[in-house]
């Protein structure tokens, strides 16, 4: 029996949902098992760091890397797996574009630690203990990975072959991609050009969304719990933020169909450098109050009032793409730190 191709899956700064999504492909997982040997998959099998270190370069055929780069350990693993893998896939939104972890690029490491270790309501930390990179104990020095100020996407630390978007990716899409890979490995089938986004469409989510779409003018924004959306009608028109028009299709528009605006997890479309800015610009364009005969200052106020009803714009529009956006992160000035840019 010839050697089976090797599969790896690793989690960096992630929630674990991506591994579950792989297991969620149903009985197709048996085919995966049949086709591949697992080389590394800490979530489901016991492998150690030194196992991977021991592999020859390029030993792993496909590595599904999920999670963002939050710590020095994440970065080290990314570099190691890059070296050991023929094909490295940024799997899921965190690896692709930073996702929820990268929202902490709106603040700093110190602020994050403050919240997590001191100020959180459920924290009781009278000795103000926080993680240290090095700690001296009688037995010697203990080390922990260092926690970065800025969360990065996988491709900001290593070269990436493919991107598989989604938070997490949808089962059919995962299987479709695995099929291409399997076919390439077993039958010399064609692979998409390096750098491609795989397992997603090229048109916006609206294309897949069955809700009725009309000309849009928004006079007030609502959060999902505030109103009961009228069924069958585009949510955005009803003032419920839906990032569908700024997001790649591929998910089947699952969220809008159950009354929850698209959050944007499949990332921006081809040609968009900044999904958040794009959506904000779109939304701002359809705020429909007053007209050009109104007094300029009153008009401005009317528009401001509408925009004020939009909660947490940066968290809403950059929910998944902060690390990869043109913004990347906020400057630390005025952010509770000593000023100057975060290094």
């Amino acid at each position: 029996m010839s050697e089976k191709p090797k599969l790896a899956m690793y989690w960096a700064a992630s929630c674990g949902g991506c591994e579950i999504s792989v297991l969620n492909i149903g009985d197709k997982i048996l085919i995966v098992d049949e086709v591949f040997d697992l080389a590394f998959f800490p979530c489901i099998a016991d492998f150690k760091h030194h196992d991977v270190e021991g592999y020859e370069d390029g030993y792993i055929d496909v590595c599904l890397f999920n999670g963002a780069i939050r710590t020095s350990d994440n970065e080290e693993m990314a570099k190691l797996l890059r070296k050991k893998s023929k094909v490295l896939v940024a799997y899921g939104s965190c690896a692709y574009e930073g996702c929820i972890p990268a929202l902490s690029n709106l603040t700093t490491k110190d602020e994050t630690f403050n919240t997590v270790y001191y100020e959180n309501q459920t924290i009781d930390n009278p000795n103000r203990v926080v993680p240290q990179v090095e700690t001296q104990v009688p037995e010697g020095t203990l080390t922990l990975p260092s926690f970065y100020n800025t969360v990065k996407s996988l491709d900001q630390v290593v070269d990436v072959d493919y991107y598989l978007p989604g938070c997490p990716p949808e089962p059919e899409q995962i299987w479709a991609v695995l099929e291409i890979v399997v076919n390439a490995l077993l039958n010399d089938g064609p692979l998409p050009p390096a750098g491609s986004i795989v397992g997603a469409g090229n048109v916006a989510v609206c294309e897949e969304c069955p809700l009725d779409k009309n000309v849009k003018t928004i006079t007030q924004f609502y959060r999902p719990y505030e109103i009961q959306p009228e069924p069958g009608l585009c949510l955005l028109e009803q003032g419920l933020i839906c990032v569908g028009p700024a997001t790649r299709s591929g998910c089947g528009a699952l969220c809008p169909q159950v009354g929850m605006g698209c959050r944007g997890c499949y990332g921006p479309l081809e040609g968009v450098d900044d999904q958040g800015a794009k959506m904000l610009s779109a939304i701002a364009s359809v705020v429909g109050v007053g007209d050009s005969t109104d007094d300029e200052f009153e008009l401005e106020e009317m528009i401001d009032n509408v925009m004020d009803s939009l909660a947490d714009p940066s968290g809403t529009f950059y929910r998944f793409s902060m690390a990869h956006s043109l913004l990347e992160r906020v400057k630390a000035n005025g952010n509770g730190t000593n000023g100057g840019e975060v290094k």
């Binding site: 100020n149 990065k152 294309e207 479309l269 968009v272 450098d273 290094k343």
Partner: protein
């Protein structure tokens, strides 16, 4: 991508070279990636400068051109032409503005030179991403819409019609003529206004190439240069034009009188069915339902019963007429400043304070007093008259601008008072006398000899509260005489307020309907204040006369003719080439979300329900980019303003601070 870019840095004499080290900029540019040839030259716009570009394209095989010079408004066309003559697509050219944006904005040579480099670098980085574009040919419908039948609109219509082009002239009032029809004599020559105007009005009426819609307004306009579609509301006159002979019996017999606020400026009455003045064009009367006894109480019908041709039709309704035109000339004129806004001048509560237009009607031989100058009682002849200049003009509380015609017509009024009441004293209160124009200063000198008293000072108020002997029963005009530095109180019988010209009350609505701009004062904005005074920023829409700013009759006529010449030029060409800098929607990536559907200020975006796709109608698009910015899927592309082009320009400009920043750890 490897392009061969040629960079040309213009000295513009000393305009640029006096502040920017052009040689240094050109040398530096020559070292930048993709740049294969870089020069500085005294005047790039000269034919020698343009030839440089043409020759270099041939000799060095240049594929992209950058000229760093003045504003693209000035010379983009020039250099696109040179690029094209050199054998390249004209859009493979980019201009960096190092004059208006740089050398004219600072005297700091080092900073200006640094900025010039940044601007040049931005242009170089951008131009390599340029794509060849082809202009879009559009056929021009030879018919023209002229809106407003004052002297400006009449002049434009006649010029075009005489040249063999069809004109639709739409006038809101029952008759054409505008303000000029209300005037008596016109400065500085004092020829009778009606005598020179009415022949032109008759020409309009009889011209085979002019379709006149009076008592009508434009209700809607859509389309673009060469292909506008106009909807005109022809308001019901309640008179069947085909039957009416203009005999005037209806007007004579109508029992109902109302104050004529429009033509007679409130100084006289008219009937409920009326023609505003005897020489009105067209001659058909208009019935005014709110003031008509029949409409009010269901009986009367005097006009209908007595009309010899049965031309009165109480059932008549507004008609909507639709027709295509290729170009539009707006000549909607001005409103007179409302003197009620300055209560201290007494208009409205002091009977013998008159507005200038009231006075024009009064001195008019065919006006309500047959040309006699009398007080409000209709009989007493004033023995002293004060004429107050600059009412509502040159006053920060009202209009900052000078209305341009008031000094001259105030002098005209002084002359007419001397002429009709030789014994009367006339006082002109002025801030400055402004008489630029052919024969105008001479007219002023003539008045100085006629014995007018000129008092230099802004009038503080007009009152009937007598304080000193000789003031009882008079109007007292108070002003500081700035030449002698004294407060003066002049008792007079009559005061005339020389109210200024202001934009039509509805000028903003009109500018919105026609998709062009107006300034803060409401006057329509010309494309260029000096070099393109009758065109607007919207292609195919022209302006003429006082709707563009205060002006007198000769200037209004000149603008009318100029606008007509511009239109005739376009009509002659039959097709025009439109800029290809427009938006387009990629069918493959449009998801039909409809976010863009209501955004286009030119209504260029349509939604195809069957395909669930939006589309930009190319000819309607003006390339403003609104939809491009709004499309969250990047399915809309703005030609010549692609993301790549804009971002590389920004990065190029920021060359010294860019150094692509790695994400901080």
């Amino acid at each position: 991508m490897s392009e061969k870019v040629g960079v040309y840095v213009c000295h513009c004499g000393t305009n640029i070279a006096g502040v920017v080290d052009v040689e240094e900029v050109s040398n530096w540019a020559g070292e930048q990636p993709n740049v294969v040839c870089s020069r500085d030259y005294k005047f790039m716009c000269s034919s020698l400068g343009q030839e440089l570009i043409e020759e270099d394209i041939k000799e060095h095989g240049l594929t992209r051109i950058v000229v760093a010079a003045c504003s693209p408004h000035m010379h983009e066309k020039t250099f696109r032409g040179a690029t094209e003559r050199g054998g390249l697509n004209p859009y493979l050219f980019e201009m960096a503005n190092i004059r208006e944006h740089n050398s004219w904005a600072t005297t700091d040579k080092a900073a200006a030179t640094h900025k010039a480099k940044a601007l040049v670098n931005g242009a170089v980085e951008r131009v390599v991403h340029h794509q060849p574009l082809e202009p879009i040919p559009v056929e021009i419908n030879p018919a023209t819409l002229v809106v407003g039948g004052g002297i400006a609109g009449i002049s434009a219509a006649l010029e075009l019609a005489d040249a063999g082009n069809h004109v639709y002239l739409v006038e809101r009032e029952p008759s054409i003529g505008g303000h000029m029809a209300q005037l008596d004599k016109t400065f500085p020559t004092l020829d009778c206004s009606a005598c020179i105007l009415t022949p032109k009005m008759v020409d309009v009426e009889q011209h085979p190439n002019i379709t006149l819609y009076s008592w009508s307004e434009v209700e809607n306009i859509s389309g673009y240069i060469g292909n506008f579609n106009v909807t005109v509301r022809k308001k019901a006159r309640y008179v069947i034009e085909e039957l009416c002979t203009g005999c005037g019996i209806c007007e004579e017999k109508c029992p109902r009188k109302v104050v004529d606020e429009v033509f007679e400026a409130g100084l006289a009455q008219r009937k409920a069915i009326y023609t505003p003045f005897p020489q009105a064009v067209p001659k058909y009367p208009v019935l005014d339902p709110p003031n008509c006894t029949y409409f009010e109480r269901g009986k009367c019908k005097a006009c209908q019963i007595l009309c010899p041709t049965g031309a009165i039709d109480f059932e008549q309704e507004d008609e909507l007429l639709e027709f295509p035109v290729g170009n539009v000339i707006l000549a909607t004129g001005y409103d007179l400043f409302d003197s009620n806004r300055i209560p201290q001048y007494g208009y409205g509560h002091l009977a013998n304070v008159f507005t200038s237009l009231e006075f024009e009607r009064m001195v008019n031989a065919s006006g309500p007093t047959d040309g006699k100058i009398v007080l409000r009682d209709g009989e007493s002849v004033p023995q002293s008259v004060a004429i107050v200049h600059c009412v509502g003009s040159r006053d920060n509380n009202y209009h900052e601008y000078c209305s341009k015609v008031c000094c001259m017509y105030s002098l005209k009024f002084a002359h007419l008072v001397h002429e009709r009441i030789p014994e009367a004293e006339v006082y002109n209160f002025y801030i400055d006398i402004r008489t630029p124009g052919k024969g105008y200063e001479e007219f002023y000198n003539r008045l100085l000899e006629e014995g007018t008293h000129f008092i230099r000072g802004r009038v503080a108020d007009v009152t009937d509260a007598a304080r000193l002997p000789g003031e009882e029963g008079k109007l007292i005009v108070q002003a500081e005489d700035t030449l002698i530095g004294k407060q003066r109180r002049i008792p007079v019988d009559m005061v005339i307020l020389s109210a200024g010209m202001e934009a039509r009350h509805d000028s903003q609505d009109v500018s919105l309907m026609f998709g062009m701009g107006c300034d803060f004062d409401g006057f329509f904005t010309e494309r260029h204040p000096k070099l393109d005074p009758v065109a607007t920023m919207t292609e195919g829409i022209f302006i003429a006369g006082a709707c563009q700013g205060p002006k007198d009759i000769p200037d209004s006529v000149a603008q009318g003719a100029a606008a007509a010449a511009r239109v005739a030029g376009l009509v002659n060409q039959e097709t025009v080439m439109m800029e290809p800098v427009r938006a387009s929607i990629n069918k493959e990536t449009c998801s039909g979300c409809r976010l863009c559907n209501d955004l286009c200020p030119y209504n260029a975006i349509v939604f195809h329900e069957d395909q669930k796709l939006s589309e930009v109608i190319t000819a309607l698009c003006q390339g403003c980019g609104t939809c491009v910015a709004a499309c969250p899927s990047s399915a809309i592309n703005g030609a010549h303003f692609t993301n790549e082009q804009v971002f590389s320009e920004i990065e190029g400009i920021l060359w010294d601070v860019m150094e692509h920043q790695a994400v901080p750890a």
